[in-house]
């Protein structure tokens, strides 16, 4: 799953907006063990909000893998190498992680309950 942590094919974030789920594609980066998230296209009011971050990969059943992190976003300055020189700066956040769940159906095996 290490590649999903560092370089997932896609990453999305869900948060609650008016009792409905809002889902946006995000840019993620790990710096010094911290999970950083940039939210292109606007991130008004996300500081301090609970979110569910999902990175996933795969098409068919045994290829499906994902890493899902529930946590709270904290606004931070853009990392030095955020790569947006000359463009509109992306709003960056640090994700304070809570519960993390991962699955990889290709590694499905009998659970050892002993």
């Amino acid at each position: 799953m290490a590649d999903l942590v560092d370089d997932a094919p896609r990453a999305h974030l869900a948060f609650v907006d008016g009792n409905r789920a809002e889902v946006v594609p995000v840019v993620t980066r790990r710096v010094g063990g911290q999970q950083l998230v940039a939210v292109p296209g606007g991130a008004r009011g996300l500081d301090g909000r609970e979110v569910h971050l999902v990175r996933d990969d795969g098409q068919y059943w045994f290829e499906l893998r994902a890493l899902a992190i529930r946590g709270v976003l904290r606004a931070i300055p853009a990392p030095h190498d955020s790569g947006r020189e000359g463009g509109d700066p992306l709003p960056w956040f640090r994700l304070e992680p809570g519960r993390t769940v991962a699955w990889d159906y290709g590694q499905l095996r009998e659970a050892d309950d002993e």
Binding site: A8, L13, A14, N19, V27, P40, Y60, L90, R109
Partner: protein, 171 residues
């Protein structure tokens, strides 16, 4: 295929759907917490059929709060690819999908050449998958979303990947 809003999907939207194998399904729990997970789906008529039932987190959320946000696209190393975002009322249905949707699921995810290859590579794990499904048999079901808004999200390729902006809202 229409957007469910009475408008046909834009060509780019159709292209995204053809290349998209899992949809990101966003729901809200009974305690107003966000939940997101990738799931197999088929778009059938004016509805999206999602292959998870009432015992899953997504199913339980839909029962508590019957609305879903779906995002298609961006798979297979295309993080900056455009996305299709769909919202609408969702319902959790017990039992088997209608035959038309079920056939599409079978053809797309189990009988397509690459799907068969995927299963051949994991022959020894198929009995485990059957046991996994059998645990849910008493509450088998699926989720149906009827799109009310369909948006194309633009993508800006670059070091930071996706830079989204709504291109078109067909609502």
């Amino acid at each position: 295929m229409s957007s469910g809003t009475g408008s046909p999907l834009p060509r780019e939207g159709l292209r995204i759907l053809r290349r998209s194998w899992t949809v990101l399904v966003g729901t809200v729990s009974a305690r107003s917490r966000p939940f997101l997970t990738p799931i197999h789906y088929v778009w059938c008529g004016d509805e999206v059929f999602i292959t998870t039932g009432p015992r899953s987190w997504t199913g339980r959320n839909v029962i508590a709060n019957p609305h879903a946000t779906l995002v298609f696209g961006g798979e297979r190393g295309w993080p900056a690819a455009p996305r299709l975002r769909v919202t609408g009322p969702a319902r959790c249905v017990h039992g088997w999908m209608p035959p038309r949707a079920l056939v599409r699921v079978a053809l797309r995810y189990y009988l397509a050449p690459r799907a068969l290859l995927d299963q051949l590579r994991h022959l020894r794990q198929i009995p485990l998958r059957q046991r996994y499904y059998a645990a849910y048999r008493d509450r088998m079901g699926y989720i149906v979303v009827r799109p009310t808004t369909v948006e194309m999200l633009d993508a800006e390729h670059g070091r930071d990947g996706f830079a989204g902006a709504v291109l078109a809202a067909l609502d």
